[in-house]
Amino acid sequence: MPDVVIIGAGIVGCALAARLAEGGINVTLIDQAEVVAGASGANLSLVLWGDAEPGVSLTLTRRAWDELPAEIADLEARTGLGVEFRPIHTLALVPDGLDPRAVLAGGAHLTEAGFETELIDAAAVRALEPAVDLGGVRAAVYQEQAAINPFLFTLAWADRARAAGASIVTDTRVTGFRMDGERIVGLETAGGPVVGDLYVLATGAWTRALAMTAGVDLPEDHIIGQACVTEALPPLLHGLVGEAGDKRVSFELEVAARGGDASGLRLVEFAAIQAMSGNLVVGQVSHGGPSVGEGVRPGSLRDLAAGLVRRLPVARSASIIRSWAKPVPFTPDHQPLIGPVPSRPNLFVASGLKSALIITPLLSKLIAGAIADGDLGPLRAFSPGRFEERRLDGR
C-alpha cells in the first residue's frame, strides 16, 4: 500500500483522506490554510444534480444521489456531527427572452436519468415561494434537489479522516515538488519537505498553478465566484430561487480564451437560499481570474444586493453581514480531471469539479479504490490523459 500525501483540505481532499485512511493507507493531508478554507466553504450549499453533464458524469451523479442518504447517515453516526442535509426544491425562474420549453428541453438528459425536471407556471411559483417577486416571469423550472451545510459536511469528513489515522497538517503551503526524473520524491513546504509514494492534488482552482511547479500544464482554468449572506431572518424562502440562464458555459469559454488575464470579464447569476440558521445566502457574481485570494469587489456586492432586493423585496432592509470570493475551476470539456498525470506517474489529480457536494462521497470512494488497485474503472473518462499533454519542458 502506498503512503499518500494529499494537498488541499477541501471537500475532495478531506473525503479522500477519510476513504484512504479507512482502507488502511497511511495518509497525510496538507493545506495552506485550514480545513475548508477554499471553495468548499464558499458555495451556495446545494446538493445539485441539475448540473450533471450527459455521460459518465450523469451516471455517477445518479448513483451518488441514490447513495447519499445512507452516506450522510453513516457520516453523521461516525462523527457525531449533523450536516444539515435536507431535501429542498430549486426554482429556476425563466426570464423574458428565454423560451421555457427550450430551457426544459436542455434538461432532457436529466429526465432520462430519472431526475424529474418540470416546468411550472407563475401561480405555482407563488404558491411555493410567496415572498418571491416574479416581475414579469411566467414560468420556472422545478426540481427536487437538496442542500447541506458545507462547512460541517467538510469538517465531518476531516474528523472521519483523523479518526481513521490520517494526519492533517494546516497552515502549510506546498511551494513545489522535488523531482527525480519524472517521479516526485517529495513536496517542498514552508515547514520542510514532506515525503510519500503518491501525491494527490486536491487543490481545486489552485491545481494548475501547483502542477506547473512539477513541470506540467494542466488544462484547467477558473472563475472567481462571489456571494454574500444576510443576518438571520425568519423563514422566508423554502428552497433555492434562481434565474435560469445559459451564459455560464460561454462565460467560461471566454475566460479560458483570454488566457492570462480575464479579470475584466464578469457574469451575474442571481440565486438565493435560506440556511437552516436563517441567513439568506445570495449568489453569484463571477469574474475571470487570475486574481485568486482578493475579496469581493464593491460593484459585485452591489449587484448581489440588488438581485436580493429585486427578487425578495421583503428582505430589503435585511443587513448583509459577510461576503466572500473564491475560485472555482473548470476544464475545456466541463468534466473533472481525475487520475494520474501521464508524464508524472506518482502525481494524481482530483480537481475540476463544479458541483462537488453531491458527487464527492461517491467519487472519493471510487478514487480510493483506484489508488488501492491501480484501476480507474469508470473514472477513466475523467483522466487527464484525455487531453494532449502540455509539458513545460516542451517535450
Binding site: E34, D159, A232, V296, R302, S317, A318, S319, I320, S323
Partner: protein, 88 residues
C-alpha cells in the same frame, strides 16, 4: 470561564461548544467559526472573537499572538441590502 457561559450572543454559542471544537482539532478562530457558528452573527464577531482567542490560548497553550482573529470581509459593518443595492 464556565462551559455554560455564552461566548457568542448572536448565535448563542457557549464556551463548552467552543472548547469541544478546539478539542476536535480546531486551531484558529476562523476554524472555530466554521464549526460552531460563533462569530457568524450580526455583530461580525466583535465581542466573541476576543473570548474565542482566550479559550483557544487556554486550551492549546498557544501564545495569544498566535491565535489571530480572522481578517474582516466586506461589508465591515452590516449594511441593509437596499442601501448596498443603490451604491454606485
Amino acid at each position: 470561564m464556565d462551559d455554560e457561559v455564552i461566548v457568542c450572543r448572536c448565535e448563542e454559542v457557549t464556551a463548552g461548544e467552543v472548547r469541544a471544537a478546539i478539542r476536535a482539532g480546531t486551531r484558529t478562530i476562523a476554524a472555530i467559526k466554521k464549526r460552531t457558528r460563533a462569530g457568524m452573527g450580526l455583530c461580525g464577531g466583535r465581542t466573541c472573537a476576543r473570548l474565542m482567542a482566550r479559550l483557544l490560548a487556554e486550551e492549546t497553550g498557544l501564545p495569544a499572538a498566535a491565535v489571530a482573529p480572522p481578517r474582516a470581509r466586506p461589508p465591515v459593518r452590516p449594511v441593509p441590502a437596499a442601501a448596498l443595492a443603490e451604491e454606485d
